[in-house]
Subunit: 370 residues, 4 copies
């Protein structure tokens, strides 16, 4: 399956950083879903580098829908959306094309593709490809919202600054608050709940001025998901989500609910007791992040992703020239993000939306999202 | 795909805790792989409950190969292996069948399967099904070892007691030491590197005597994996491994290399500088856990899994009776593990072996493992 | 995917002719489907060799359900059913194991599996494996019948003797007659509409007495299928059915509706004009076999399969010894069917039922068949 | 999987007849395959309507490669190729949009997509989408030719005029002749071996002048395919090819080798005796079309497809208006092919090439085609 994910709603990605375009095909969406072109544009805008903490590359993201939409709605046929590449400065990469940038995919690409890979700007490994995820995901997000399902991703921690932890809102009483936070972060270009944009920005700029980069942690909540979604083996909700998430460059850890915190808990602390509330089964806490046995239990699905520091830094580094087979110093030019925690949030929400459309179509049939 | 995983080597699981048998079909293995029946038995033995820290259920695990093996070797046809269930005490579950055990799959199974699920002992959600993974995985492990690939999983932390962290052995100089640790934990029934079995056992028994359970963290290293394995989107090595891992009941977090530690690192600390050693490209550190851009880079693949405390505890808990639709207290009978960190290690290694066979077959062709 | 077929309802086959058992895992069936064990037995009985026109091998087909059924209904977990092998005379195959039986899979198996294949009785290529299809298919057939969908397969032609052609019953007025014929052939051990059992049997026995075998043509009708099932590219109804059908040994041609007859028709003859009947869209003729653009149109789905003569014949044949790499004469022992047209009918209906369950689950959601 | 086909080399199609473009993504191709842009153009030219027997719609087929090619070779990343639509006359379809053209997909599309489908020119069901198959297939054809594998498709019969039957060239002695015929038909715009272009053209024009259309039969041979490719269940070579073939609009029957002819043969006639020729296993005849047990046997793979008459005819027809729910006469405007046998040949060869790339990658690994 390689560059495709999904069983009934399938996303296929294509494109390289410096090629004609990046794009996505999303197949299996129900016919009749409204396609809100302004929303697609505004979602792309959230991903776009813009402020001082982002790369200096400026993308217009003039997307084009090639198929699958007619009279403003999905047709049921595969939807292909492309985003032509602009502001490409390939020359930046020519001089260093045989130098394996540390923690980048240059070396593995050389091994895997034998020198035929498009090395400019990371080629198909580039974060640029995530623009296509955001564009396709915008359609999925709207389809889910029509079913009362909402996805929000925020920066949980960066540079030592922490935002509200959605896991602290696990009780049924906190449901409305969590919902409002999810909506709030979706409205913002800098997705945080607390008033910490400046503090985080300062830490990122500090790293940048030091020719360095920093990592962080992001957190996603999905509200409104009905119980019973996912499969025990192997299409568990955790499994399909994590597979998607780990495809996003820079994500090196995924934990659901209390995640690694479980390692130091007792069963009596960790178990989420069930209770009846307004005739519905709920749990008093949500340590399991809304998932039991791989299947949604009706509580909000909450998970965290670890984001590594951008590997492209201006500091001189040690590496190898893989064509010459010898050690070599590396001084990176090009334009890079000193941190990607801000821009990655919308990518995660978009990809999660597509995965959830697939999960719903698999459980409820294609037409469920119509 | 539900209960199957893999593209070219496909594992399918079936069976319930209290049904006639659990089993696995593994399809796509090369013909001619030696099937070592003693090794299968010894692997099952490592998973089997035996000591005071395990459940009192005693399984003989008399497995039977129904197909795919002829004259002691794989035939290339699907290999079906079953393990009949014994020592089943279904009556334990009759009284509580409509009580949703907290953090268990009872409630979601009721929603998803509408009351038709086999509720006895967790049915198809039971950890009992992992016996089939271990049996099938034993064939995969031997096939990989013939190619110089070795997988070891140990308890990294339990009850506050920590073992050697394989991430601290990330330099090329530590390669032999890591390899020896991997071999060592595979020889042991209680898979740890340091002399900490007693300390961990004490903490588990402490929890047990308190009618409680505890969680932990396990760590896996894969050595000998060549560079270039995995795909950028979406069949990244991290993606396919995490999807498999999250299917194992109790695993709620997966991180590769420094994982969540990346959140507090700078790029200059996190980047793994490449260097030439004996004519091969290696990295000076291995924060990325052997994976760049979703593809193996030739360094050991290292990842951690968070394991939640066994949800089945003897302490009285609060829950709901989902048939009556009302709150109810829960006093669990039955036989349960106060911690599953020991038994889960061999399951993880076995499942990882099967996934890696698939990755190798996908990259190198089916016959590569012959 | 190899030995599996399906997207949402997935069938996996395993087993060899002379191994411990053949079996099937069917995954993705809705929970709550009644499992009629007598019906499974009676379906297996229809496939079983019994009369003079079948092989002398006598199979008891004592099947066993290992998983996925609880209290007489499917649980939603994978259903594994096995049929132990009996009356195995492996010695028949020992002497000729390196002789490639013409039109059999012996030679290709040797090339593909390098000598590790189980050659006894054709191993995994054996028609014996179809017993597992019939057993699993019996569950699918009952699930479809509960939705008003009925599948019937009959011998359309054998030895020059022809049965009623369901394509001649393509008009809306013939619907009831077609339905009654479908029911009738499902009641019979020798599935034909007309009174031609004796005539066909005579031709088969004639071939047998001449140490030869004969082929034939079979025809399947599916009634009660709603319009809108299937996909334009590539999961067309014709595509998914033909892929399944061609897996059955001996089937070398598949045609829908007028099939190869279209080659000599004009558009004005071939087109099925639509009309309104009782408020429903129907077509006056059914040359397209109930499928337009790969999607069911509400008319009966009708298709024919060409069945080649059993390749195992007692006549001396010319072949090669692939181990010695030289020509060799072949005198086959063993017990063989002089024609498989009778026994293959129930296999086709069973496999079609499983494929249709998948198509329905993909379009309408898993729970549709509950 | 819907609009995708393949396991390791995956083709995804998108686009509508009157939308911005049709296109294909082909993923999983080895890196380093030369991409011959002139050859792509010349293949598209063969499919393009041009003479009097084709539709009057004139397409320029100015294709564009959006990704996956760098410096004239494949990169290993997904290759996306699009062909903008031109000469679109959507108004032709406006008046008849609720009239179900007989034997077309209009009615099933209405049922399946609930009125949201793009009905103009058949939308995603249009034969126009096959242009994308031809473009993507051109890359596959060149990759196969580099391995000595050649695919040729010719008109076997149309209007009662028959071409040379490749099945008559099944003996090892005829191998060179068959190879030369395959090459010959690939050079021609009107793909036939014998001097019958005029005769067939006359029959087609005769039908056209009668406001009618005619069907036909086409035949494909694949030479140079090594033995051992394909799987017993369910990815048999016959299965994967037929699934692809039946996706092409108008194909209603597929038979391998003697196909439906087997129905009237005896085993002693039908069996292909093996023999040693120049140290290789060959068969004296090739009734099985190069496939035994679903796996290639080293002989040419030969199969026929039945092509139905173009359903769009100028003659008045009877049909229904599915929005009004009543009978209605239909007088079609628009530009249509009186027969598609000529243009479909290159589509079949192209699609078969892509399927074979997948089969080879699955058996031999991705890099085999490099």
């Amino acid at each position: 399956m390689r560059n495709s994910i999904g069983t009934n709603v399938v996303l296929t990605l294509f494109g390289e950083s410096h090629g004609p375009a990046v794009g996505a095909v999303i197949d299996g969406l129900a016919a009749g879903i409204p396609v809100d072109q302004d929303f697609i544009a505004s979602q792309l805008s959230k991903r776009r580098p813009k402020g001082p903490v982002d790369t200096a590359r400026r993308e217009k993201d003039q997307y084009q829908i090639l198929s699958g939409v007619f009279n403003g709605r999905t047709t049921g046929a595969p939807l292909c959306i492309i985003i032509p590449n602009e502001d490409v400065r390939s020359a930046d990469y020519e001089a260093t094309k045989s130098l394996a940038r540390p923690s980048h995919a240059d070396y593995v690409a050389q091994v895997k593709y034998g020198g035929f890979q498009d090395y400019r700007g990371g080629g198909h490994f580039s974060g640029r490809v995530t623009a296509a995820i955001v564009a396709a995901g915008a359609v999925a997000i709207k389809a889910l919202e029509a079913k009362g399902i909402r996805i929000g991703t925020h920066i949980l921690e960066c540079g030592g600054v922490r935002d509200t932890d959605f896991n602290d809102l696990g009780s049924p009483e906190s449901a409305d608050l969590l919902e409002s936070f999810v909506k709030a972060v979706n409205e913002k270009d800098f997705p945080v709940v607390e008033d910490i944009e400046e503090a985080i920005t300062a830490r990122i700029l500090e790293a940048k001025s030091d020719s360095d980069s920093i990592g962080g942690m992001i957190q996603t909540a999905v509200t409104g998901l009905e119980p019973g979604l996912g499969e025990p083996w192997f299409d568990s909700l955790e499994g399909v989500l994590s597979k998607a998430l780990f495809s996003i460059g820079g994500i090196k850890g995924v934990e659901f609910g209390s995640g690694f915190g479980f390692a130091r808990m007792k069963g009596s602390e960790a178990n989420d007791s069930f209770c009846m509330i307004d005739g519905k089964v709920r749990s008093l806490t949500n340590h399991n992040g809304g998932i039991n046995g791989g299947i949604s239990n009706g509580m909000p699905v909450v998970f965290n992703c670890a984001v590594k520091p951008t590997p492209s830094i201006a500091k001189e580094q040690r590496t190898v020239d893989f064509l010459k087979g010898q050690d070599a110093p590396l001084c990176l030019k090009g334009r890079h993000d000193p941190a990607i925690v801000r821009r990655i949030c919308i990518v995660v929400s978009s990809l999660v939306a597509i995965v959830l459309c697939d999960v719903l179509a698999s459980s409820r049939g294609t037409d469920y999202l119509k």
